[in-house]
Subunit: 337 residues, 2 copies
């Protein structure tokens, strides 16, 4: 085993779209766990849209990554050495260990992953933060009722794909919005959405939505923002719920984009737009994961993964994810079990 | 008694700001109540911002006034003749009788006004629709907690003035935004707001709000929209509630105004923006009116009225109200009791 720890650090704050040179691969000595700590060997690293926000210095819900600091990120790994009473060597764990091969942790926020329940990589996707985001955002804020119409932007993304499937389980009419024809086919043919369209090849989102949502829109799960959201707002029903989960169309802009003001529509429709962070449901995570695992075992939820091998490729995997290049949860395989 | 009924009808759909020529004063024969109906003689007519929406043909929460039709509006009047078992001649009632001297009604949506409780004109203001709008919008959607900061736009308007006073009763720090120095003085000196500013003479709303809201903003009650709202959004606290009641800055625009997109702020702050119409709280109106009447009697709520005499002046009163020319609830006195 090499005595060095490969890490990806933030080399520069991106201007607009991040690029590979904003990251740096460095090697540092292997860390040593102290009393009450564990050493974790990373197996899978997750790259997610929220990381774009952490690369900028602006105020947000969490502090930014420091220049020269290790990029933040969720990891599934194995306990390589434990000096913590609640963890044993060899156990599989999930935590925010960052973009590196090894990390030391005091166990705070680390959860054990049961390898018998599902492939361990799912702890970063369907049975992890993205899964919980879809589950609680849709059910606790969107509150979809049977027969209602649910529209999801970023429909083929990890969160969006699950939102649509959960909405189908709830008995809703589900329409997805995605960025390629392949993604549109994926959510309809593989995931069971009722319909979907490619916003890159659709000139008039509003007219397309009228066609696909003949009964209007009751719940909108927004991962994207921008003009897609503007079009949705024009078709919301009375007491509609707009669940604001992400705004990926806006993350790489240096200035706020301008758009038509539409708060009036919220009044006319007695509707709400509510933003959330998955952490606000932390005290219900266990219940959410249990339900998601059950649906997964029953074959009611499907997922795809797109795995890149080698931590040195994490920046490229992240940039590809931001651009929506691939279908499925983007993972970096850091090491074999 | 003249056998004719003076009415104000909609002569033209306004383009941008309405003007007096969009209205017409007409005379029609005095209507006669049939079985189960009452004839109401108008005493006070209310002019309110929502009427601007009804003058346009666009889809909204209620159908537009037809061209040539009598303008909609709330009225306090006296039962001149009753063929309805639940109403007696001479009783004071409040209903949506429109801009006219006499109206026939089947009693649907008509409520009796107790002249001993408060001056009957208050049934169109503090103890009527505007009062209920302030009460339920603030308490049911804004849910202000003691010590929180509440910001109100359109602070000197009928609704805004009550929102700020109710928020003070709830133990909040209350900051108003209004359009003249006189209005700013009114809400602070007469109504007891903690602070207020004149957005016409303030160059940077954001910096002014930082100064007046050192602990951020927990509840925003929006009557105005536009750039004022954009500045508020930059200062909201975690779990803030934006109560979207009106957007008077947008009503006279032929196209939606463009503004910076800010849904991202809702995510970061786990905050919501919720629009409402007072009618959605109809089953709680009685309780709301009881509470407002009690606060009024205890001297905890103050109000002002601005009364114009003669139904022929209703258009001018309406236009002045839209432009914020006067302080206080704008009423048209149609006849003496």
């Amino acid at each position: 085993m090499a005595a060095m720890n490969q890490q990806i650090t933030l080399a520069a704050r991106p201007v607009g779209y991040p690029k590979e040179s904003d990251f740096r691969l460095v090697e540092s000595p292997l860390p040593t766990p102290g009393p009450g700590e564990i050493l974790v060997r990373a197996l899978y690293l997750s790259v997610d849209p929220y990381m774009r926000g952490r690369m900028s210095s602006g105020k947000s819900y969490a502090p930014p990554v420091e220049l020269g600091g290790v990029m933040v990120g969720g990891v599934v790994g194995q306990v390589a050495e434990s000096r913590h009473p609640q963890f044993a060597g060899g156990e599989i764990v999930q935590g925010d260990f960052g973009w590196q091969q090894y990390a030391v942790s005091d166990g705070q926020g680390v959860r054990k992953v049961d390898p018998k329940l599902a492939p361990i990589s799912t702890a970063l996707g369907i049975l992890g933060m993205p899964g919980l985001t879809a589950y609680f955002g849709l059910l606790e804020i969107g509150k979809p009722q049977p027969g209602e119409t649910v529209v999801v932007s970023g429909a083929a993304g990890t969160v969006g794909a699950l939102v649509g499937q959960i909405a189908k389980i709830m008995g809703c009419h589900v329409v997805g919005i995605a960025g390629t024809d392949e993604k549109v086919r994926y959510v309809v043919e593989d995931l069971g959405f009722d319909n979907a369209f490619n916003y890159h090849s659709t000139a008039n989102y509003y007219r397309k939505l009228i066609e696909l949502c003949p009964n209007g829109i009751d719940v909108y799960f927004d991962n994207v923002g921008g003009a897609v959201t503007d079009a949705v707002v024009r078709l919301i029903n009375v007491r509609a719920r707009l669940v604001i989960c992400g705004q990926i169309s806006q993350y790489n802009l240096e200035r706020p984009e301008m758009g038509p003001r539409w708060l009036w529509a919220l009044i006319v429709k007695q509707a709400k737009a509510e933003g959330f962070l998955v952490f606000q449901f932390a005290d219900q995570f266990e219940q959410g994961l249990r339900q998601m695992a059950q649906w997964l075992q029953e074959g009611k939820l499907k997922y795809r993964e797109n795995v890149v091998r080698g931590i040195e490729h994490a920046p490229r995997a992240f940039l590809g994810m931001l651009k929506g290049e691939n279908i499925g949860k983007q993972l970096v395989k850091v090491a074999d079990l």
